[in-house]
């Protein structure tokens, strides 16, 4: 019987072609959007984790409250013992210290007079420490446009765009003017040894990358750091584990009423990432729902028309002694088949396009000139394991629902009437 039905579907193009086309299109879009959103979200999370939030981040309570202003006067002190404590408590995590700071970068001419200057956003990371993994994490080496990596204290990198604006080339000296942790004037000369472009909009405008220890010295921040970032093993974020860790850590410091006591924040708690993720996932959910509804209506109609065309067949099958339940369920079975075929085709095409978008990507930097969030400037799709089956949900659901609705008409009508309609 199954073979018989399948033969019918394959031979009757009216029965198969249109529904399969609709289902394929819907499934393809579902897969594509899923991959696209996963890619964009994943990249946003990774970029944000690497550059700004870590998987978890520790700051002083006061610093955390005013994080946007980079208040280094409120930075954590005693970070050496805190980090070794963290390394002991969470040996499989990587903990790194960073300092962010604002300032002015001044480029002198041969007479020592200002040739050009501009506001700079400094990020000090542990460039020279092997186990910090910072160079790989921020992909610094591969992001260098001109020049080379800093090899010793006093050497820095600046954004390629910024270098162009200030007319600075590798080998030039620049002067950083900023303020120390205690409010004093900080001034220091550095050699720009390379220019860099991360492909992260906010970082590529006017950033300076320097070694963490250099920054501690110039900003008078001995044994202090603006933030300590924690990364899970293999750089794979686990929200569940992060939540547990944050709860335990903050519980431990709860009795401490000092505003300089450390506080730990999860990735999602920073920069509104949680609500953004929630927003996006509810957006996808809604999209798929609307899709299923629209596809079901179209397929319902297609099935109705198909059902009318097949009145003869239905009447005949009843006459031959098939009962109505069996006719109805065989129609549903057919729709499952069509749903599967359409879903497979749609998934294959959707995955194909997604793979293409995963390799090629989509450059959005031009439309994000003023964004300060840490988001990548090239978005790519990401083909997840889910992408292989997610399309089957709307694909199967809508065909079966469409057929079920159409079939009710046939099911309800009594045998004699169906039979009479056959006698045209």
């Amino acid at each position: 019987m199954l073979k018989f039905l399948v033969k019918g579907i394959l031979r009757d193009h009216h029965r198969s072609r249109f529904p399969i086309l609709i289902v394929s299109a819907g499934v393809m879009l579902t897969v594509l959007i899923h991959c696209w959103v996963s890619g964009v979200l994943g990249e946003m999370i990774d970029t944000s984790a690497a550059f700004a939030t870590g998987h978890v981040k520790i700051m002083s309570r006061a610093y955390a409250e005013n994080e946007g202003q980079i208040p280094n006067d409120l930075a954590l002190s005693g970070v050496g013992s805190l980090v070794s404590e963290l390394n002991q408590d969470y040996p499989d995590m990587t903990w790194v210290e960073r300092i962010k700071f604002g300032g002015l970068l001044d480029v002198p001419d041969s007479n020592g007079e200002t040739r050009s200057q501009g506001p700079v956003m400094g990020i000090a990371v542990q460039l020279f420490s092997e186990n910090s993994g910072e160079v790989e994490r921020l992909n610094i080496e591969k992001s260098i446009v001109k020049g080379r990596m800093p090899r010793q204290p006093g050497e820095v990198l600046i954004s390629d765009q910024f270098a162009e604006k200030l007319d600075v080339s590798p080998g030039d000296q620049v002067t950083l003017m900023s303020s120390t942790m205690y409010g004093g004037m900080a001034m220091q000369n550095y050699i720009v040894v390379g220019t860099i472009s991360f492909g992260v909009v906010a970082m590529d405008r006017s950033a300076m990358i320097m070694d963490f220890t250099d920054a501690q010295i110039v900003l008078d921040m001995t044994d202090s750091a603006g933030e300590i970032l924690g990364y899970f093993e293999n750089n794979i974020y686990s929200d569940e584990r992060a939540r547990r860790m944050v709860a335990a850590f903050n519980m431990k410091y709860e009795p401490d009423t000092d505003e300089f006591a450390p506080i730990m924040l999860r990735l999602g708690e920073q920069n509104g990432l949680d609500s953004m993720l929630e927003y996006i996932s509810s957006f996808i959910g809604m999209f798929i729902l609307i899709f299923v509804a629209a596809m079901s209506i179209v397929l319902w109609n297609a099935a109705l028309i198909g059902g009318l065309r097949r009145y003869g067949e239905v009447g005949l099958r009843l006459a031959i002694g098939e009962n109505k339940g069996h006719v109805y369920s065989s129609m549903l079975l057919e729709s499952v088949f069509i749903g599967c075929v359409g879903s497979v085709i749609g998934t294959v095409i959707g995955l194909g396009i997604s793979y293409y978008l995963q390799t090629v990507g989509f450059d959005i930097s031009d439309s994000l000139q003023n964004v300060t969030m840490m988001i990548p400037s090239v978005f790519r799709a990401h083909v997840t394991a889910q992408a292989y089956y997610i399309g089957f949900i709307p694909g199967l659901f809508s065909t079966v629902l469409g057929t079920a609705l159409a079939g009710i008409g046939i099911y309800r009508r009594n045998t004699a009437r169906l039979f009479k309609e056959l006698e045209v």
Partner: protein, 234 residues
Amino acid sequence: MQNSKIILTEELVKRFPVGGGYFTALNKINLSFGKGEFAGLVGPSGSGKTTLLNIIGSLDYPSEGKAIVMDQSIGDLTHRQAARLRNKYLGFIFQTYNLLPVYTVYENVEFPLLLLDTTTTERHRAVLDAVEWVGLTDKLKSRPGQLSGGESQRVAIARAMVKKPEVVLADEPTANLDAANSHHILQTMEKLNRELQTTFIFATHDEKVIQYLRRKISLEDGTVVNDENLGNEK
């Protein structure tokens, strides 16, 4: 079998709701059919031929009275039981052939067997036999669209006969056929009736069909006005 009568109606009444009231399509029909009959319901349009055939075929049910087919009372059957009865004992032939266009002759004839517990080899044997009875062995792989009207109706006969039913119900089987084809399929059915002892009941007003009948039941306005043995030799 009860008095060897395989079909029996007692005071059978069928009413259809029309507007506010009822239209009586069949009024107190008392008929019985034995095994191997070759009988026809004859009468003008609207006399109730199709209605009676449908009730005997368990596609519709009586409003009053009884219709008993193969010892089962049609009015008391559930949908499922009625389907089972049709499946096991009854074959239908329609005016419009009702072949499934996307299937070959072979597959159309095989279809009723798919609902019964049969093996592939049994089905193969039965289909080849049935197609041979109607003389279409060379058209096994054709689609209905490629057949003439007469050939199509012969396929329909093969489909009705393939499971060797007790009764074949044929509603105006010759209405769309020319004289030569009509005679051909009637001869085919007569032969099957003789060889397999299958009961045939026709609904018709075609003189060509009436020529072949051995029993002619005349209906008028839902009542039997005449039931005569035409004495056509078996």
